[in-house]
Symmetry: C2
Subunit: 381 residues, 2 copies
């Protein structure tokens, strides 16, 4: 990989006057980490989705990076944090976007470019070694550090951060909610879950997201900005509603297949739940307003296309698995394998995700998707 990969062109027509564009700690899920290394099943190899998400969030990211620089009157030092950076080069793509936006803006406005500190955060079990392999390519642009720890706790000194980015991380809860039914064979909320399952997940999300906002509120300078991207759901009257091909629903189906085949015990599936929540736009807005330290600058809803590409309908040779199905299986495997292995062991993983790819392929024509990607930008008051 050459250095040129990290340099993107920024629209040179952007204006400098910019205007004011503003329109406890938790119990730890030790097994929650992205698959390390750079092998076939690693997160690093299977994070094309995350790359796509970055490209969707890019206009909001660029606009808010510029807005931050202008509102702060071109400071000579900028500290940026990427929270939940995972492993691999994607995290550097975002950082390169931010750094490049700052440098091009400074050039256009005849301002001296600032020294930039890029802090890459994830849980201590994250594979930082693989991420750090890419640092030498990136280092001439800014200073790079890794910050191990949960973003639901304090990570940085008081009033030290100017810009915070987090992509596809905030839908992960700090722990599996308490009070879930013990005999559910679904790993997450489905349309047929009891209402208290929804309440338990929502409570945990509210508690975690509140912590996240409070911690960042302490760490960020006034007029600092955050761009957050995460999985959400379309607002419907029924908060339990999830589409039939929601990835966790299909994972539950795949696990039940293995129970049927005698490869996994039913009781293990019953007691396994994913520490995940896909909030609605309204739930997110309410939390931000209640916490009170941040103003909402942007809130966009984008489609959620896991594994989609131009050859979506192509089937893999001699199989009932579409290429898109296989890609979605790879994506979900990269983000969930470490948790699944902790409960079910490593031996069933290949079979499980073959089932999963099959079920995804069968749902290719579903059109009632409720899963979306939320892009939110916030300004520290």
């Amino acid at each position: 990989m050459g250095e040129v990969d990290f340099i993107h062109t920024i629209n040179p027509s952007s204006r400098c006057d910019g205007g004011d564009e503003r329109s406890s700690m938790y119990s730890f899920v030790n097994a929650l980490r992205m698959s390390g290394g750079d092998g076939d099943n690693s997160y690093s190899t299977n994070s094309l989705l995350q790359k796509k998400v970055l490209s969707k969030a890019k206009p909001v990211l660029v606009k808010n990076t510029k807005g931050m620089m202008i509102n702060l009157n071109f400071p000579n030092y900028i500290k940026v944090a990427d929270l939940g950076c995972a492993t691999g080069e994607n995290t550097f793509l975002t950082m390169a976007e931010i750094v490049n936006t700052i440098n091009v803006l400074c050039q256009q406005c005849n301002q001296k470019p600032p020294e930039i500190d890029c802090c890459l955060n994830d849980l201590p079990d994250n594979d930082f070694n693989t991420t750090f392999k890419f640092v030498p390519f990136f280092k001439r642009l800014c200073f790079v550090s890794g910050v191990p720890g949960s973003f639901y706790s304090r990570l940085f000194p008081r009033k030290s951060l100017h810009f915070v980015h987090s992509s596809y991380s905030l839908h992960w809860l700090s722990k599996v909610p308490k009070g879930l039914e013990k005999n559910s064979s679904s790993v997450y909320i489905t349309t047929s879950s009891p209402p208290n399952a929804y309440k338990a997940y929502l409570n945990q999300f509210q508690s975690d997201f509140k912590s996240f906002l409070e911690m960042r509120s302490e760490e960020m300078v006034s007029n600092g900005r955050m761009v957050l991207t995460f999985i959400g759901r379309k607002t419907l009257d029924d908060p339990l509603h999830r589409d039939c091909c929601h990835f966790w629903t299909l994972l539950s189906t795949s696990l039940r297949d293995l129970v049927y085949e005698g490869l996994v015990s039913a009781s293990k599936v019953d007691s396994f739940n994913i520490p995940f929540y896909d909030p609605s736009k309204e739930e997110v807005m309410e939390m931000i307003r209640n916490e009170g330290s941040f103003e909402i600058n942007d809130l966009e809803i984008h489609g959620f296309e896991l594994g989609l590409s131009n050859h979506d309908e192509d089937y893999m040779l001699h199989s009932q698995i579409s290429k898109a199905g296989q890609r979605e299986a790879n994506c979900i495997r990269a983000v969930s394998e470490s948790m699944l292995v902790a409960d079910f062991g490593v031996d069933i993983m290949d079979t499980l995700f073959k089932k999963f790819a099959y079920h995804v392929s069968q749902h290719a024509s579903c059109t009632n998707k409720t899963t979306v990607t939320l892009v939110v930008s916030l300004i520290r008051k």
Copy 2:
């Protein structure tokens, strides 16, 4: 490992009035890194020597930490860097010492303790993952980050560091010096080396140490302090003199044994050199004075006891290898194996370090040691 490991008691009789106690770029040796993980041959398991060194440097470390706090008039934020932190828990022992010294001093002086940023630096190939496993135990005391990169380059923003520590790292050069004889069967300078070998090593050390001082000079605040510990040699008239049981001399002997046994080719040994230099106290002082940004506050010379313990003379069962010899072999293996494997392959390592342990054991009674540990403290003017 419990949290209590990281807390040490500090002499409570210390006074608060303190007084004024003051009395480009390189080519990279990719294979230079400490052995990762926590297995039998890892650096993490075999760094007892480094632990001993820390205990020797402790009085200077504590004195300069206090001096820094007092001279800077108890700032509310302190950024500390450990350069060449390697892997494992030792790096946290130093940080805990610094953090604890600051907190106890603040308590004694009725000052609010500062927020402390602890930055752990080493090369990008260092095993940061193993180091980060210890972070959760340490995190309530300060903020922790990993900074991958060479300390012979810029690592931190301008005027951002208050305190820098580096233990047993600065004797590693950024690369093997140019212009060494191709047909030397020694991996480093010996008493019988040609004089230009000494000059080549000294030139490389001077160039690297100058870079180190210049980079830190840019990164540190005025009155910030550095405590540096590294391997040096006693001043003698002959700059080529090294004792007969210098660890690199014994490594050369061990490699020649393998050549004799047909396990390694002579030409490979001839072309292998260690990127290392053990400067004299005078060479170090001259470099610091010439660079000009730092004042020398302390310069101590300590003995160098690799592998020594109370049962030094004990021999291992059915062998000619003493326990001390085995320990020294483990230490040297942990710091040099990655470089040796790159040139000689992994297969000969066990045999090589068995030879090495044997040779160390044979030299147990030598008394003409010239290798020392230098402890230097500097104040940024």
